[in-house]
């Protein structure tokens, strides 16, 4: 295990290492993807945990990739700011690890994905070059947005070393409701009804377990505006119950739970307008699974005790342009069919990691 203290140290370590390298943050999501090469050198990124630039009045921050997202949020909260990014395990996971794993949460409905907040990055290529992409200011079109390529890439294209983000003011109010006891399709319809004017929600989640189906809806913003929306929603849906930010956190942090007997985690996506059409098939193929569905985003995660028929799931989603990825669990077809443009992706991997050092074999681009 190596633990570089600076980006320069990280780069020289990468240059000097001949075998495979596994970049590692808190290690919470190392289970995602194919297993690491057994002879890998693990690079612990957690010493790169410095805020290198934060001027609150600019609403931007630059931090080392090894910083824990929750710690960053604590620093921002002092100035009533935050990153609207409800990633799982954010109290423990590093920002670099979360980016590399491509993890985000239901706030994507209202706030967009982490890629929309990421302004720039320093990353280290497989041959040990330190590359800057983007910058630190909120608007910047100088050069290609190479930093976006590293989101969800499991560190195979470069090691994320430092990141700059645009920030948002902390919302004055944050209120949620849950509605329990309906079909997934009905929950979906309620979600869409609660998206129409006057509603402007920040997040939706449909939680579908073998025991219950529950719709979560969240509003953030000016207190009076949030109160109005919650009141109208509750008048229309009398069975709705209030929920807190804490209950969202609890829900999102441990959806994959060995105590629930979960051994498998799948990511499924398709264009949001097609999601409703795939629910029946998904429920039929995986009746014992728990689903977390972001209806308006077009993203679902499936947690189950054993591997469902992944081929059947793919057959259900593919006609709608969707995909199924086995994030946790052994599956030789983890990533599914080769993505479009895989030849370009392979070339890029070869250009930036010529000796195939960075997490070889972990990702769809090997």
């Amino acid at each position: 295990m190596e633990k570089p203290q600076t980006i320069a140290e990280l780069a020289s370590m990468v240059r000097d290492t001949t075998g495979p390298i596994v970049p590692r943050g808190a290690g919470l999501h190392q289970v995602i993807g194919n297993p690491a090469h057994p002879d890998s050198t693990v690079v612990d990124m957690r010493a790169l945990n410095v805020v290198s630039d934060y001027i609150p009045s600019d609403l931007t921050i630059t931090v080392g990739a090894g910083m824990v997202l929750g710690d960053i949020q604590d620093i921002l909260a002092v100035n009533r700011q935050w990153l609207p990014w409800d990633a799982p395990q954010h109290r423990h996971a590093t920002i670099g690890g979360l980016l590399a794993s491509g993890l985000s949460g239901p706030l994507r409905h209202g706030a967009g994905a982490p890629r929309d907040w990421l302004l720039g990055m320093h990353f280290v290529t497989g041959d040990g070059r330190i590359i800057k992409s983007g910058g630190k200011v909120v608007k910047n079109v100088a050069g290609y947005d190479m930093h976006k390529l590293h989101i969800g890439a499991l560190g195979t294209l470069g090691i994320i070393a430092e990141v700059s983000f645009k920030l948002a003011p902390l919302p004055e109010a944050d209120e949620s409701i849950t509605i329990t006891g309906m079909s997934i399709t009905h929950a979906h319809k309620i979600a869409y009804a609660l998206r129409k004017p006057p509603f402007n929600p920040s997040a939706f989640l449909i939680e579908a377990t073998p025991h219950h189906i529950r719709l979560w809806v969240r509003w953030q913003g000016a207190a009076a505006a949030v109160t109005r929306q919650v009141n109208i929603a509750r008048a229309r849906q009398p069975i709705a119950k209030p929920a807190t930010a804490g209950s969202w956190e609890h829900l999102l942090n441990t959806p994959f739970s060995k105590s629930h007997g979960h051994a498998v985690q799948l990511r499924m996506g398709c264009a949001p307008q097609s999601l409703e059409s795939v629910y029946p098939a998904v429920q039929e193929i995986a009746p014992n699974a728990t689903l977390h569905i972001m209806p308006t985003v077009g993203l679902m995660r499936l947690y189950a005790p054993q591997m469902p028929d992944v081929a059947a799931l793919r057959a259900a989603l593919l006609p709608f342009g969707g995909y199924v990825v086995v994030e946790i669990g052994a599956d030789p077809m983890r990533w599914g069919p080769a993505p479009a443009n895989i030849a370009i992706m392979h070339q890029l991997k070869k250009a930036w990691d010529p000796d195939n050092k960075l997490n070889p074999g972990r990702y769809v681009i090997e």
Binding site: I131, V137, K148, G221, G321
Partner: protein
């Protein structure tokens, strides 16, 4: 021989005409003239041939034919760009998207629209108005610029302060690659396996391929909108007001500044109601739920009073709002009253550095004896110092370039960047080294080569290149006559 086709191009023109029809292949000098410039202050470059295909397949055919003949290939939308992105710097074939301007589909469930690249920006929001949806990126050129061009340049606009620049609003593209093959890069199913190639396509200035179809995100129209004009007798107070608004956590939909001579120039031209003697005006627009607007109104009133705004006006109706905006969006053309030529920069600074950089701008203008008007996206820290002069004055171009470079370098030194929304193109290509190391540029070149190994797509743009582009005149000495059709 104005109507004689150069013999070496006869076969090429013949092949292109066979692919898309004779009338859509332009090669006579008088036909090519309007394709030799864009909105930037560039030396012009004439294409050898212009084609106007109607479909993705026709674009692919043109690319294949041109690439086989070893010709550079440059895509062109509205030609309103301000960095030379659509100027055929090395000659070659210009592919105009002028006949690909349709809205193909609107989906109000996913809130997306599938469009052709030649669609005019405002036409999209007008088309989607019945669904109460709109396309958020709103460059000031939006009545003439195209969605394809917006994607190529990763365009901004006043309302990008709150809603983000074009890259956040493009979900999928159909792309013709340098070998004429057609591919799609599709993020409509989020987080699909594979690298986020769309992230580098948007903003790639036509150097990776030609986009022939796009799926874009549509935003719901806000419940309410309120537009203010804040009038200041002092530039520092206006820029301090901008910094304070952002620092207090108010993110307006738009926060624009006009300062100095620009105010009077715009007023005399557009009659938007700006006071002629003001030192700076801020155009502040907030949108959202009614309660949010009420809360933010109180904050803005408080901040403007604190920094001693002379007056804070509110647009009382849509007509007044449009009037206030017409001053902003028509600003560049209005400045023709002061001097016939211009050079414009697009630097960005951290928002807390605005006061400092605006002071420097005034100082530089005085020292270099050149008019500089700032009309810009203050809330983003995105400056548009507009240098106005008459090239007949001896030594003025050198002084204007020196002034421009000093301001741009100050933006970089303040932690900012050389372009916030106009793109690098030819004009700022040589400044890339102020921001990026040789290794950074190496990574960009390597990435570009993965899409276009022979470098036929819009060569000599964006990345500083070697000798092959040495014959392209740099924009730095360029100056362009102001015309009605230019926007910042």
């Amino acid at each position: 021989m104005p109507n004689q086709l150069a013999p070496e191009y006869a076969q090429l023109v013949h092949d292109l005409a066979a692919a898309i029809g004779t009338r859509y292949v332009l090669w006579r000098p008088e036909e090519l003239m309007m394709y030799e410039y864009d909105g930037s202050a560039l030396d012009m470059a004439r294409p050898d041939i212009v084609v106007v295909p109607a479909t993705t397949a026709e674009v692919a055919a043109c690319v294949r034919i041109a690439a086989t003949a070893g010709m550079p290939i440059v895509a062109r939308g509205g030609g309103t760009g301000l960095s030379g992105g659509s100027v055929p710097a090395a000659g070659g074939v210009v592919i105009s998207t002028g006949r690909m301007s349709k809205v193909l589909h609107v989906d109000d469930v996913s809130r997306t629209a599938r469009v052709q690249p030649g669609l005019i920006n405002t036409d999209l929001s007008e088309f989607t108005a019945p669904w109460h949806l709109h396309f958020a990126p709103d460059p000031s050129s939006q009545k003439a610029s195209t969605i394809g061009g917006n994607a190529a340049e990763n365009s901004g606009g006043p309302h990008c302060l709150k809603y983000g620049i074009t890259t956040s609003h493009v979900l999928a593209v159909t792309l013709v690659l340098a070998d004429g093959s057609i591919t799609t890069i599709d993020n409509t199913a989020p987080d699909a396996p594979g690298y986020d190639l769309l992230g580098v396509i948007v903003g790639s200035e036509g150097t990776l391929g030609i986009v022939t179809e796009l799926t874009v995100r549509l935003m719901p129209n806000p419940e309410g909108v309120k537009t203010f004009l804040a009038i200041f007798d002092d530039l520092d107070s206006a820029s301090d007001t901008v910094s304070a608004i952002i620092a207090q956590g108010v993110i307006p939909a738009a926060l624009e500044m006009l300062e100095g001579q620009g105010i009077a120039l715009v007023e005399q031209s557009v009659h938007a109601g700006y006071p002629l003697d003001a030192q700076a005006v801020l155009l502040i627009e907030i949108d959202g739920m009614h309660e949010e607007i009420a809360a933010q109104t109180a904050q803005i009133e408080h901040i403007c009073a604190h920094f001693e705004a002379r007056e804070l006006r509110v647009a009382q109706d849509e007509e007044q709002r449009k009037k206030l905006w017409s001053g902003r969006k028509g600003a560049l053309a209005a400045c023709a009253r002061l001097a016939p030529h211009y050079h414009i920069q697009d630097g960005v600074v951290p928002r807390s550095k605005l006061t400092e950089i605006l002071r420097l701008t005034r100082e530089v203008a005085k020292r270099q004896r050149v008019h500089i008007v700032n009309i810009f996206h203050a809330g983003d820290g995105n400056l548009h110092p507009l240098l106005l002069f008459d090239i007949r004055e001896e030594g003025i171009i050198e002084r204007a370039v020196a002034a421009s470079e000093e301001i741009l370098m100050a933006c970089v030194n303040a932690g900012g960047t050389i372009s916030g929304e106009h793109g690098i193109g030819i004009e700022k290509r040589d400044y890339m080294k102020w921001l990026f190391s040789e290794d950074d540029l190496w990574a960009m070149r390597q990435m570009r080569a993965c899409f276009d190994s022979r470098g036929v797509m819009n060569p000599c743009k964006l990345i500083p290149t070697g000798a092959s582009c040495g014959d392209i005149k740099s924009a730095r000495a360029g100056a362009k006559a102001l015309a009605a059709g230019a926007w910042i």
